[in-house]
């Protein structure tokens, strides 16, 4: 009679002994549909044990500015891929110019992404900050927009210039969004 020995289960490799990977995201857009992808990817990277730095510049500052961060908009103008949920028929661009259409499109996007349990921008930044992401504001953009650190989300590490960002992103993969 023979007996079959079952092998011990393999242990997944969670990369604990691997060199730390680092990704820098540059957020340059203040449109709602450009804010979400950056934050979602940053969240995914943090989930994978990657070190994350996010540098907010130009209109991306609207994501950090407490006066605007909860009011980012989504316009269908210039977005030729725009179609209604569940339909493949593209909407005429002219519709986007009608009064109230940007508000409607923004509401729809927030609802659709909210249904997937994706938080709104302020809560999302708070979550990323808790997960260990370091958030940086661009000095030039702060000056250009007449802002101070008090106008920005409290979790921001600092206001830094491009040179400092280039230094801290050394060795990282950098994504410009």
């Amino acid at each position: 009679m023979t007996t079959t020995q079952t092998a011990p289960a393999i242990v997944p490799d969670f990369g604990d002994d691997s060199e730390v990977r680092k990704i820098c995201f540059i957020c340059s857009k203040g449109n709602l549909d450009m804010a979400y992808p950056a934050l979602i990817m940053a969240n995914g990277a943090l989930n994978e044990g990657v070190e994350v730095d996010i540098f907010f510049t130009f209109w991306g500052m609207d994501m950090l500015n407490k006066g605007t961060w909860n009011d980012l908009q989504f316009s269908m103008l210039g977005n030729t891929a725009m179609h209604m949920p569940g339909s493949t028929k593209h909407l005429p661009q002219g519709l986007g110019g009608l009064p109230g259409m940007t508000g409607f499109a923004t509401h729809m996007l927030k609802k659709q992404i909210g249904d997937l349990d994706v938080p709104e921008i302020p809560e999302f930044l708070e979550m990323l900050h808790e997960m260990g992401a370091r958030l940086w504001a661009c000095q030039l953009s702060v000056d250009m927009m007449g802002l101070t650190k008090d106008d920005l989300y409290e979790g921001v590490e600092d206001i830094i210039n491009v040179g400092e960002f280039v230094e801290l992103s050394e060795g990282a993969q950098t994504l410009f969004i």
Binding site: N47, G49, D117, M131
Partner: protein, 104 residues
Amino acid sequence: MSLATIGSHEVHVDDEGFMTDYDEWSEELGKTLANNIGIDMSDQHWTAVRFLRDDFKVEGETPTLRRVSTVGGVSTKELFQLFPKKPAKKMAYIAGLPKPAGCV
């Protein structure tokens, strides 16, 4: 999916070593799985892992970190301290569940 032993138990696992049969898991196995990846289970660890198990049973999918935080009541920051680097996957492994499929 194949049969393998964890501790003294014979269970079904996938190619990466994650358990695939919800009912084959026990807290004793969870403790062994945690030890396999260098985690010593405390009460806080168990709060998170038990939430994963209960939520999976209801929802049919492994909760994401956000859900563990907003519904399970363990903050994201704490989850990173309890299960360093890759909390979502490590918790799923210990809880004998598939890796979470959601992005956020």
